[in-house]
């Protein structure tokens, strides 16, 4: 046992070390108060109704700027997807998925027999339509900032623990301080937006650059825009995306009230699904595997005890 103690201390230090590559000065993201249903141990699953609503939010709000190039419409109707139905094990036959795809007109990857481009309604096998023909067009339309592809955004944020990526989306979408923004006329006669802080030691005024929006959860550095004690700059930074989810931005098909936090919750859960569509399968396989391994280890322990019973060691 003597050997174990320092190793335990070491593992503790290692755990500290692993959490130490935190991003700049962004505020620590948080999920909803009740936690994410999919992050529950031992077999938490996505709330499929929420994922469906989240798809609606993506379709009606996010998709005008953000693509999801790794997803196809068929994914929506595959097992674990929001519109899966037992009647249609092949998602390409699922009428709901077909209808969702058909709403979108895409450029067919194959030209017609004369070599001319063909525009046609999408089918389930097509990938999600990209809002811009290329990255340059995307940047030009957004003041030089590239709206990131959202296919794996929940895996690309946080530190890899289950739900951290979704918490980031949730915190970012609900974290804007738009209700605190005040406007004054600047020296050059143009309007200047600013936010006053009086939060413990963080006291001062943050000026919002034109075309950018302050968000405490966005990784960045607000120091150049901060008039106040530079040792206590507010968390976060400025991003080019304006607040997108004011109350009632979408009208949910299922009648759920579309509050900002509800929409943020739903879209975060949709993106969580999209980042790892097989996570439901992973979670349902987890428990049987663990039980099997634990039983096997118990069996081997007793075999070990029995085989070694007459050997001094």
């Amino acid at each position: 046992m003597k050997l174990f103690r320092p190793l335990l201390v070491g593992l503790g230090a290692m755990a500290l070390g692993l959490t130490a590559h935190a991003a700049g000065g962004a505020k620590h993201a948080h999920g909803p108060d009740e936690g994410w249903p999919f992050a529950k141990v031992p077999a938490g699953q996505l709330d499929s109704e929420s994922v469906q609503r989240g798809f609606q939010v993506y379709k009606e709000v996010c998709s005008s700027c953000h693509g999801m190039k790794l997803l196809s419409y068929r994914n929506l109707g595959e097992k674990g997807g929001p519109f899966y139905s037992d009647e249609y094990p092949n998602a390409n036959d699922n009428p709901l998925v077909k209808a969702i795809a058909a709403e979108v007109e895409i450029l067919d990857p194959n030209p017609d027999e004369n070599g001319d481009p063909v525009y046609r309604p999408a089918i389930p096998a097509d990938t999600f339509r990209s809002p811009y023909p290329n990255d340059q067009a995307a940047m030009a339309a957004n003041g030089g900032a590239m709206p990131p592809d959202l296919s794996v955004i929940t895996k690309a944020r946080g530190h890899g623990a289950e739900g951290e990526g979704a918490s980031y989306i949730y915190s970012l979408m609900t974290g804007y301080k738009d209700d605190k923004i005040k406007t004054k006329v600047g020296e050059d006669g143009l309007n200047v937006n600013y936010i006053e802080f009086d939060d413990g030691e963080t006291v001062g005024t943050l000026t919002q650059p034109t075309g950018l929006y302050y968000n405490p959860y966005f990784a960045g550095d607000a120091t150049p825009q901060w008039d106040g004690d530079p040792r206590h700059v507010p968390y976060g930074g400025f991003l080019a995306m304006a607040p997108q989810l004011p109350e009632g931005r979408v009208e949910y098909i299922d009648g759920t009230e579309a509050t900002t936090s509800q929409m943020a919750y739903d879209v975060a859960q949709f993106l969580q699904w999209a980042g790892d569509p097989k996570q439901g399968q992973r979670k349902s396989l987890a428990l049987p595997v663990m039980i099997y391994l634990v039983l096997l280890s118990i069996l081997l322990w007793f075999s070990y005890k029995r085989i070694w019973r007459n050997v001094a060691h």
Binding site: G17, A23, K69, A161, E162, K278, K283, A286, M290, I307
Partner: protein, 480 residues
């Protein structure tokens, strides 16, 4: 052990026929069934078997992944995701391979620390230890190459950092660099050769593993007492079933931990930035290697000073590779006649210090070198100004209000004034990494050589079976 006589008796006609032509069953029987193994091996000795399982898992999952992976810069990222989405159980295979790399290193580090503690590198096992060091080096190369394949941000920029290290070598550095990259920069040709080598190296590891096991079976296992087997009857038992069942139990416990990561936190050991497709025009804020390379990364960054004509960058590279090279010299650096640190009370303290140093180096590798570990005092504010007469000055303040007031007064008087933070003196990660790097090298180059000549070992038993009897009879002198 090579000395012991084969007990294999072919029973069937086919076995006899084969035994006369290729005695492969005899080899397996003598190596893994009837192999005399010291009775007193503890659970730290199960990691060899665990590592064999890790290698097998990585090769099997890797071969399947290679069937679906596309090694081009435009398709690599998407093809890895397609494995996760469209290949049946592809998510499981990929998660096992990804987590498996970390588990492999976890096991190899325990295995190496065990060897360090029980003196398993000493005569007659020097070649065994050297082969192990070769495997470790190949593992690091393989893991580094593999980390590039998903072509995420960390893949690209991590590869850039490491390949640039070779550029620090005088005269031939640049040539080596472009030879490794296959062109002027890390690009498609680099990805393709990295994929090719990532597929090749595991089989070289497997080859060296065979030599490693061979070199183990000539002198036989070391054991916690460090005493060689004197009496096969009293000191040893056959490998099967005694150690197959003990190793089997340990392997399954290890697999439980493995499975927790695979099923509940597949991404927690990696870096989120690697799920952003590689973009040479955007550099991540913090480039960090995978956790198992962090100690060496910390050593690389700890060297911020020149020594004589050698510049800091090259010196960092020398120290980083030196940290591994010194392992190869270990059998001849440790002068102690006593193998096991159980009986070396002073060396034992330094050994645990070494483990802590390695863990602290990992922490340093993951942190920003300029961040404080311990801050001494409060940050202050400093106002720098140049007044109308062109005279420069600074004033330091504790509080913000008077500092801002002073700045505004200066500005009103026509001076240019600015306010900035003056960081409090602190003990920073850079300092910690320098101290720990010094300890790392001192452990091998000073402590072990000197201590072996000066220390007084305590309580060493005469033989393995004497130590075992000491366990059972509380009246006897405690073995530990």
């Amino acid at each position: 052990m090579s000395g012991h006589e084969s007990t294999y008796k072919p029973n069937t006609g086919i076995e006899k026929w084969l035994d006369d032509r290729l005695p492969i069953i005899r080899l397996a029987h003598d190596s893994f069934v009837d192999f005399p193994t010291p009775k007193n091996l503890n659970y730290w000795y199960t990691f060899g078997g665990i590592l064999a399982v890790c290698l097998a898992i990585q090769i099997i999952t890797g071969v399947v992944l290679a069937m679906h992976y596309t090694a081009t810069v435009n398709e690599a990222f998407g093809s890895v995701e397609r494995i996760m989405r469209d290949v049946p159980f592809g998510w499981l295979i990929r998660n096992i391979h990804m987590v498996g790399a970390s588990m492999f290193f976890l096991a190899v580090y325990v295995h190496m620390f065990r060897g360090l503690y029980y003196g398993s590198y000493k005569a007659p096992r020097e070649v065994l230890w050297l082969l192990g060091c070769v495997i470790f080096l190949l593992m690091m190369a393989t893991a580094f190459l593999g980390y590039m394949l998903p072509w995420g941000q960390m893949s690209l920029h991590g590869a850039n950092v490491i390949i640039n290290l070779f550029g620090a070598i005088p005269l031939v550095g640049e040539g080596i660099q472009s030879w490794l990259m296959g062109g002027p920069s890390v690009g498609n040709q680099t990805l393709q050769r990295f994929f090719s080598l990532h597929y090749l190296l595991p089989f070289m590891i497997a080859g060296v593993v065979i030599l490693h096991i061979w070199a183990l079976h000539v002198p036989g296992n070391n054991n916690p007492t460090g005493k060689e087997v004197q009496d096969v009857e009293k000191d040893t038992i056959p490998f099967h079933p005694y150690y197959t069942v003990k190793d089997g139990f340990a392997i399954v416990v290890f697999l439980i931990i493995f499975a927790v990561f695979v099923f509940y936190a597949p991404n927690v050991l990696g870096h989120a930035d690697n799920y952003i497709e590689a973009n040479p025009l955007v550099t991540p804020a913090h480039i960090v290697p995978e956790w198992y390379l962090l100690p060496f990364y910390a050593i690389l960054r700890a060297i911020t000073f020149n020594i004589g004509p050698i510049e800091a960058k090259l010196l960092g590279v020398i120290f980083m590779f030196g940290a591994i090279a010194v392992l190869f010299l270990l059998p001849w650096l440790d002068t102690s006649k006593v193998k096991s640190m159980r009986y070396r009370p002073v060396a034992k303290q330094f050994f645990f210090g070494f483990v802590v140093a390695c863990l602290l180096l990992s922490w340093c590798g993951a942190s920003n070198p300029d961040d404080p570990v311990i801050s001494m005092g409060e940050d202050k504010l400093v106002v720098s100004y140049t007044d109308v007469a062109g005279i420069e000055g600074t004033r330091v303040f504790e509080e913000y209000a008077p500092a801002a007031q002073f700045r505004d007064e200066q500005t009103a008087a026509g001076a240019t004034a600015s306010l900035a933070v003056q960081a409090a003196p602190a003990f920073r990660f850079l300092h910690l990494s320098q101290i720990m790097t010094a300890y790392y090298f001192a452990y091998f180059l000073l402590i072990l050589p000197i201590l072996g000549l000066r220390e007084r070992p305590k309580g060493e038993p005469d033989s393995i079976h004497q130590s075992i009897l000491g366990h059972d009879a509380p009246a006897a002198a405690p073995a530990e």
